[in-house]
Symmetry: C2
Subunit: 199 residues, 2 copies
């Protein structure tokens, strides 16, 4: 239907997550009308990402060198490790400025339907890190859904004999949200976790 | 916030139409986890589009050579020209298989708020084509919105002295849609353009 390279570009763009056929077409026509220099910059950075980006040897987050910026930062505490599913979760936690410890990226969550068991995640590597004995708390910041909960429970049981503090992020109402729009599970959790108001 | 090339990639992706910061991040992390060969193919086709794709000398649609496939097809009729706003509209009309004439791509619609007047569109080039005298009908298939209507009216007035048939696509209810969900303007147009049922 499309002439020359445009059809191929639409096909390649359609493989990206969240890009449907209509978006792919829209982006392709945008590319056709965009100056060569801008498109060239995009093509170049795509190749650079593949050439330069790797996973940190310690936490498996995204790194530009052997160690990521967080693992190589001597000013961060070694006593607390925050366990997350994906590298983008590291960024999300960093944005809160609430945490100054280290991270461990599992690379997903336990999902039997998709054939992902504990062995497909970096749980063995986490246990290795804990064996050093420097860690006193493990924050299990996996997603608040079935798979994330299962992963957190699995890890909690696994590290129980080590006697360190294992915590999970609080569930509750999103700040700035409306109570009436909260789903019943979230609202239930918010009740469970209610705090005494200090006035 | 992001290490190395990932931040640059998110920035570049965020410039694409319909790609917000969250989607850009999602695509970037997908790229990080995608095999080098696939990413290389995407980077390559981006460059190829800029190198190979140009606009047809006659209709200004997308072409791989000096003339597009439609303009260089001797089996299509020269008597009817379908005027559209963008190259993607050519594809949309072609998909209907209802039209076997030629196209003319204006490159947009008259939009005074964005500083687009008739001189910014390929209306002069259209008039030049009509002067050959081979054309008997002009289908004004610009979008059914204010700018598209204004553009159609402008062209209709301009070609009036030439005495050729000037038509506009029918407005009405979308096929497969529900009457109750149609907006009042569309429903009004559907009444205006009602047809006698031949049974």
């Amino acid at each position: 239907m499309y002439e020359g390279a445009v059809g191929d570009l639409i096909e390649e763009l359609g493989r990206l997550p969240g890009v449907g056929p209509k978006s792919a077409q829209r982006i392709a026509f945008y590319i056709v009308n965009t100056p060569e220099a801008d498109v060239s910059r995009l093509a170049q950075v795509l190749r650079r990402v593949k050439a330069e980006v790797r996973f940190c040897r310690v936490c498996y987050g995204i790194a530009a060198a052997e160690l990521c910026r967080i693992c190589s930062n001597a000013r961060r505490g070694d006593a607390i490790i925050c366990v997350v599913e994906e590298p983008k979760d590291v960024i999300a936690v960093e944005k809160t400025r609430e945490f100054s410890g280290r991270y461990h990226v599992l690379g997903g969550s336990i999902n039997p339907l998709e054939g992902i068991g504990p062995d497909q995640l970096r749980i063995r590597e986490l246990m290795e890190r804990l064996r050093s004995g420097e860690v006193s708390e493990l924050i299990l910041a996996t997603d608040p859904n079935t798979e994330g909960e299962a992963t957190a429970t699995y890890i909690a049981l696994l590290v129980k004999p080590m006697g360190l503090r294992v915590t999970r992020l609080a569930s509750g109402l999103p700040v700035g949200g409306d109570l009436e729009y909260a789903d019943e599970v979230t609202l239930g959790r918010a009740f469970e976790g209610r705090r005494t108001l200090e006035v």
